[in-house]
Amino acid sequence: MLLILLGVLILHVIILILLIVSTAASAWSVADNSGKDLWYKCSTNNGGYHCQPSSNEDWIQAVQALMILSVLFCFFSLIAFLYQLFRLVKGGRFFFTAIFQILASVFVMCGAIIYTVMCPDDGTHPNFGYAYVLAWVAFPLCLISGLIYIVLRKKE
């Protein structure tokens, strides 16, 4: 029982870390020497490393908002899990935790989909960077974690 709890907690923390890295790193699109989105466009020219803020288009701002919301909801679900661990009645289910975790996964999914569809095509044919991949990896993990919380019951 304790092992399951520990495993679920570690999974949750890993998901949170993945989401934070994916949101904070500006590497959703990479081209030869440059990485950009969500926050900065950085490129290494022969002069050095230059960064400028990403374009202010509406869809990039929507992706930013959805990623930040997913991080927040994952964090709230972690706190709800720890709270419900000690305060839930016997046989109760971790509903709040599950709801927040599933909402977080929905937000990541929406953000990643919007970015995929609206990906800017400057003509430099950028590839998707590691932050984008992390977002897509975090989405099913988050969903599975939320479903585990629905199934999990508190025994004593």
Binding site: P53, N56, E57, D58, Q61, A62, Q64, A65, L66, I68, L69, L72, L88, V89, G91, G92, R93
Partner: protein, 203 residues
């Protein structure tokens, strides 16, 4: 001795401020406007002297990407002279108040070609030493969305909804506990099977 000291101090007080203070001109840093709209470019100055009657204001315009400036406005001797041959003919109006040290101009019906730097130079004789100040004009076809507005709006709405739902949930639980309403499932996790003596009012 005292007279000498008094005289020196008066002379020093008279001379030194004149050399160290200069006229300071203030305009904005950057102005944004839509095509077809009007914009007021403000210019004012600070000077230790009283505003003289020979105060002058002049505005020059340097288009983006060009190295030449053209003079578009001059106020002197109590009269304002606006551009009547250059890029702003019939579109420039003086809306300042020289008595209050305000030399602002109004540009009407902006075009995309009006992007550029506007420099205001003011002189308040005998206070004439000063640096002109420039304001950059950016004309847009549509107003660009500022960074972070939509982001903040989405986050705010979702968090607000979350708080609202939590408040409503606790409110309903509070009202059920006070028996204002009765539900078929009242407390968290426990299912109460009511006997059928009381009518259940489903909310």
């Amino acid at each position: 001795m005292l007279t000498f000291l008094a005289l020196t101090s008066v002379v020093l007080l008279g001379i030194v401020p004149e050399q160290s203070q200069a006229i300071a001109i203030y305009t904005g840093w950057e102005r944004h406007a839509l095509v077809g709209s009007d914009i007021r470019l403000s210019c004012s100055f600070f000077s230790w002297r009283w505003t003289s009657e020979d105060v002058t204001f002049s505005w020059t315009y340097r288009p983006d990407g060009s190295r030449d400036s053209i003079s578009i406005f001059h106020y002197t001797g109590g009269a304002a002279y606006v551009d009547n041959k250059g890029p702003f003919r019939d579109r420039l109006e003086f809306v300042g108040n020289p008595g209050r040290r305000d030399g602002s101009i109004l540009l009407k019906n902006l075009e995309l070609n009006d992007n550029g730097t506007f420099t205001c130079d003011a002189k308040n004789p005998p206070d004439i030493v000063g640096r002109p100040s420039s304001v950059r004009l950016l004309v847009f076809e549509k107003v660009p969305i500022q960074a972070g507005v939509i982001t903040g709006a989405i986050i705010g709405v979702v968090l607000g909804l979350l708080v609202l739902i939590v408040v409503i949930y606790y409110l309903m639980r509070f009202l059920v506990a006070r028996r204002v309403f009765s539900l078929s499932v009242s407390k968290h996790g426990k299912k109460k099977k009511e006997g059928s003596q009381q009518r259940q009012i489903k909310v």
